[in-house]
């Protein structure tokens, strides 16, 4: 399946785009998203362990499943306030 990952802030700058399309196995998890992102953009390697992911606008765990319909967000360390 093809999933789309919304990229933000520092992660978006490193990836060079606001949303990245990734080809993943049908039973892929957030773990697989991390791996595929770093493979697609090696520039993300250092930041990736510090990024969290959201699925449908909620924080997700690394072993949560994603689908082609999921709204996936790559969330680098936040700094609001």
């Amino acid at each position: 399946m093809t999933v789309t990952v919304l990229m933000f802030a520092h992660a978006r700058d490193l990836a060079g785009g606001t949303d990245l399309k990734l080809d993943l196995a049908d039973n892929a998890t957030i773990c697989d998203v991390r791996e595929a992102l770093v493979n697609a953009c090696p520039e993300l390697r250092i930041l990736m362990p510090h990024c969290l992911f959201s699925v449908d606008q909620q924080y997700a765990e690394d072993d949560d499943r994603v689908t082609a319909q999921s709204e996936i967000g790559c969330i680098p360390p936040v700094s609001g306030g």
């Binding site: 802030a9 520092h10 969290l52 959201s54 924080y59 765990e61 969330i75 936040v78 306030g81």
Partner: protein, 154 residues
């Protein structure tokens, strides 16, 4: 009142939003852009946001604060885009019958907002260079966001 805005924040209206006849203690926190930090000048801050998720997170945090401290009111406004020195990026207001609850809830909300709401800022220095602000530990290593048990589900 829970709001992400591109406009300057009207702090008085955020405070007014928590007014209640049974409140005795109304607290308003306004986070503003500092011009100088340890001798380094900040020309401006630029905030961006994953807006629908940020609103959901803020809604969840406000709900939790209200029920934990039995607040009579809670309001949060976060500005995004360019915020020049002296201007407000964040306004948090709470009200409750007594002041201890207002102070505790206010500090908790601000701490949590800074930990979990998907908002990011860049510091723009005097050369016009932008620097993403990451929470770092004493070894200048980027640290993770927060422990998973602290996650907010809305």
């Amino acid at each position: 009142m829970i709001q992400i805005t591109h406009e300057p924040i009207d702090a008085a209206s955020v405070l007014a939003a928590v007014s209640d006849n049974n409140a005795g203690a109304n607290l308003l926190f306004v986070g503003t852009t500092r011009e100088w930090t340890s001798g380094t000048r900040t020309v401006e801050l630029r905030y961006e946001c994953y807006e629908p998720m940020a609103e959901r997170q803020l809604t969840g945090l406000c709900h939790n604060a209200r029920s934990r401290w039995n607040l009579t009111g809670v309001a949060v406004v976060h500005r995004v885009g360019v915020v020049p020195p002296g201007e407000a990026s964040l306004a948090v207001a709470v009200s409750s019958p007594h002041r201890l609850a207002s102070f505790e809830a206010g500090q908790w909300l601000i701490d949590r907002i800074k930990q979990v709401v998907p908002v990011w800022k860049q510091e723009i220095d005097e050369d016009g260079q932008g620097h993403w602000v990451h929470p770092v530990d004493t070894n200048e290593t980027i640290v993770g966001h927060f422990p998973p048990t602290d996650k907010v589900r809305t």
